[in-house]
């Protein structure tokens, strides 16, 4: 088979040259971009290493030493720590005083300490997600361009939610720790406020993409703003709202663990103590419990979201 070129050969030459120039320019940009990125990466590595208390290459040979404290003398101690069962290694030190933390409910029936702490962390996440949801729903209808009752109000609510989203949770937690005393309530307030901003943003973006015909239909029969939102808009967006709220629960369980570690109570605080004191069995028990809980919550929420909105639930969204 022969290829026939109908255009005059001068033009093809010009085109080929132009194309070659373009690709070589593009290649140059790609190389430059990657070079810049690598330069930034290596200088960042150097900077992080300089500023760290221990340096990477000094510490690297000792990584295994560090892991060795994690290995308990007796692997059964991990289960004993998890379920608050007395250990034969108990010498009265904090490392093995497992039964001390039992939370007695009724007679001899008790909840192991770590389960109680995990419950606190999960409850903080759930309550703060609820707070976020309750405030984010009305805010999102005000902040959506197509549904807002007033453009000025929209701008105010949008900026307010932006502020809530960007404000470091740890500062809100610290501020309220000084007011309601350290503990889970301060964590709830901090994570709840952040959730309002985060959910509100996702919600109003959903609202801006709804089908407006139902809304117009209700407007035509003289429905007011609340009635339109309730009967035309909410039914369309509720599955998506629920899906994002579930995603938020996953994120908030992690956030509540972290806030816990800096004084918000719950399992985070215990984990931080246990790691900093080098309690092998306790640390493993805590990590196991936390990992399992987060894994179960993630999988359950993923399953529920898939039921609610289908595969769409797995598009990116969060923060």
């Amino acid at each position: 088979m022969t290829l026939s070129v109908t255009a005059p050969s001068g033009v093809t030459h010009q085109m080929a040259d132009a194309w070659r120039r373009q690709t070589s320019l593009r290649r140059l940009y790609t190389v430059l971009g990657i070079g810049l990125l690598l330069a930034a990466m290596f200088s960042s590595m150097w900077f992080a290493d300089e500023a760290n208390a221990g340096h990477f290459f000094d510490r690297l040979p000792h990584i295994l030493d560090f892991l060795s404290w994690l290995v308990p003398k007796d692997w059964n101690d991990v289960w004993r720590a998890l379920f608050d069962i007395a250990s034969p290694h108990d010498t009265g030190t904090q490392e093995f005083n497992f039964p001390l933390g039992r939370v007695y409910i009724w007679g001899g029936f008790y909840i192991p300490e770590y389960f109680e702490l995990m419950l606190t962390t999960v409850n903080v996440a759930l309550v703060s997600t609820f707070i976020g949801f309750i405030f984010a729903v009305p805010f999102s209808f005000i902040a959506a361009r197509n549904l807002t009752p007033h453009p000025a109000l929209r701008l105010v609510v949008k900026r307010f939610m932006e502020l809530l989203r960007a404000f470091p949770e740890i500062v809100i937690a610290g501020l309220f720790a000084a007011i309601v005393s350290t503990g889970p309530i301060a964590a709830i307030i901090a994570i709840g406020l952040h959730s309002i901003g985060a959910l509100g943003k996702l919600f109003y973006e959903i609202n801006e993409n709804i089908d407006m015909r139902a809304e117009e239909g209700l407007k035509a029969v003289g429905a007011n703003w609340f009635e339109r939102v309730r009967f035309a808009d909410l039914p369309q967006v509720l599955p998506n709202f629920m899906s994002y709220t579930l995603l938020r629960v996953e994120i908030n369980v992690r956030a509540s663990t972290i806030i816990g570690a800096v004084g918000g109570g719950g399992i985070g605080e215990e984990l931080k103590l246990s790691i900093s004191r080098g309690f092998g069995a306790k640390t493993l028990a805590l990590v196991l419990l936390l990992f399992t809980t987060i894994f179960i919550i993630d999988q359950f929420s993923a399953w529920l979201r898939r039921k609610l909105v289908g595969e769409q639930a797995f598009l990116m969204g969060g923060a």
Binding site: A40, M41, S44, M45, F47, A48, D49, A51, N52, A53, G54, H55, F56, R59, H62, I63, F66, L119, T120, N123, L126, V127, F130, L163, A166, F167, P168, I170, V171, G174, A178, I179, V180, S181, G183, I185, I188, R254, A255, T257, I258, I259, A261, V262, G268, L271, K272, I275, S276, G278, V287, L290, F291, I294, F295, D298, F314, M316, G318, A319
Partner: protein, 452 residues
């Protein structure tokens, strides 16, 4: 509308009018369940008790401290001569002589807390407090402060002390042997130069002229270098330290996300069901991603803080490990959603496996990957602040330490503002880049659609 017509409509749409029980009532169950849960949570956190014991009156005080500072001169009355004393390290420096403390001709002192209408005038025998249009004389001769006349509600008379609260601007405490004044100023004290700096107390014009052409204030150093050093090492605001820590936070998020992307990128190809050569490998890798994500950034941060010592290296490593999981998961999911036709086309030319990925898959997914990575970068910039507080480096720890003392809220606010600024700037960069990319994706899809 007649009854028959209504009936006809009902029969035509049975799925609207005769829904099964669970479909009709599930919202009700959901609401009832939520209410029950909230009651349980109320009990679990013993909320009524916590609220009863909380100190809400501190909130406005703390918030006002974010944007103001106070000076607290004290006047001893039991010394031979009354002299104002300021706390050590007060914002006024070593030689305080503010114009709102007036030594009158008759030997009395007047402290103007908010001009003449809110002030206190005193000598060893009596004090006169003026505020809210009222003048309250306090006699100090009988061994305890005695108010003659009615006591207004802004004054609290204790046995040994009279406290006059004047709102935001401050308060006066009078007892027999001393007068204490707290005067509050809006703004941040000594933000540029601290009290030890030779530039302290000079106006901006004076400082500029000193830097421009003044004599060397410290032998051997130019005034510009001295001023820079004084600002950078400002003892009260610690600009140098704060900015370095802020940079650490940025670096942690950048390094962690980038390294995570580098590791997750090749792994995602082996985890994507439609690309991987082995289903087992895909399952193993996906569970590995789940594991890295579920172990959680906090646990990684605590571990690496112990391994490498506190600092940004630990934070970067924590973000890196979490990101392998998150990015691996999102990358492999977008790989599973690609259009298979380009791959088949490249395959049909006899290209080997690597080339099929390079020319059949990458053009489609690279913009999506970059967009997802930018998104994670943005969210990690926020997250890096928090894990810093457990010792993983960056501004988080500094913030937490400043907050724990409950006395340095202005510094906290300064750091919060910087953090907000960083988050804002990085959000915008990432949004801008993602919008550019989504245009690329959009164009790509449109061209594909046009070509059928």
């Amino acid at each position: 509308m007649t009854a028959d017509e209504i009936k006809a409509i009902e029969e035509r749409f049975p799925h609207v009018f005769h829904r099964p029980f669970h479909q009709r009532f599930w919202p009700l169950f959901l609401v009832a369940g939520t209410v029950l849960y909230l009651i349980y949570a109320l009990w679990f956190f013993s909320l009524p008790q916590v609220l009863r014991e909380s100190h809400w009156e501190r909130l406005p005080l703390f918030l006002s401290q974010w944007i103001s500072y106070d000076l607290q001169p004290e006047f001893r009355l039991d010394q031979p001569e009354i002299t104002p004393k300021y706390p050590r390290f007060s914002a006024l420096g070593d030689n305080p002589n503010p114009d709102w403390v007036v030594r009158n001709a008759d030997g009395t002192f007047t402290v103007l807390i908010d001009g003449q209408p809110k002030s206190v005038t005193f000598d060893k025998t009596k004090a006169t407090i003026v505020a809210n249009g009222q003048t309250v004389p306090v006699a100090l001769t009988s061994g305890k402060p005695v108010i003659s006349g009615p006591v207004p509600d802004w004054i609290t008379a204790h046995d040994d002390e009279v406290v006059a609260k004047m709102g935001f601007v401050g308060e006066v405490r009078v007892s027999v042997d001393r007068v204490k004044v707290r005067k509050r100023f809006l703004g941040w004290a000594n933000f540029v130069f601290d009290t030890r700096s030779p530039f302290f107390g000079k106006s901006a014009g004076e400082v500029i002229s000193l830097i421009w052409s003044g004599p060397e204030l410290k032998a051997g150093t130019s005034n510009l270098a001295l001023a820079g050093d004084n600002i950078w090492n400002n003892a009260q605001w610690q600009h140098g330290d704060v900015w370095t820590k802020l940079l650490q936070t940025i670096v942690m998020a950048f390094l962690g996300t980038l390294l995570g992307a580098f590791v997750a990128f090749p792994l995602a190809f082996f985890a994507a069901r439609n690309i991987t050569p082995s289903g087992l490998l895909s399952q193993v890798l996906k569970r590995f991603f789940d594991f890295m994500r579920s172990v959680d950034m906090l646990i990684w941060a605590l571990f690496f803080t112990r391994a490498f010592g506190p600092g940004p290296l630990a934070g970067s490593a924590a973000i890196f490990f979490t990101e392998i999981g998150t990015l691996g998961k999102t990358y492999s999911e977008s790989l599973e959603n690609i259009d298979d036709k380009p791959r088949e086309g490249i395959k049909s030319t006899g290209a080997n496996g690597l080339l099929v990925q390079r020319y059949g898959v990458m053009p489609e997914v690279i913009p999506v990957f970059i967009s997802q990575t930018l998104y994670q970068w943005e969210s990690n910039t926020r997250g890096a602040t928090i894990i810093g507080a457990v010792g993983a480096g960056g501004i988080g720890l500094k913030l937490w330490e400043a907050m724990r003392t409950n006395s340095n809220w202005a510094n906290v606010f300064y750091m919060v503002l910087l953090t907000l600024l960083v988050v804002f700037v990085f959000d915008n960069i990432s949004n801008f880049l993602r919008r550019r990319l989504s245009r690329t994706i959009h164009d790509y899809n449109r061209i594909q659609a046009e070509q059928g």
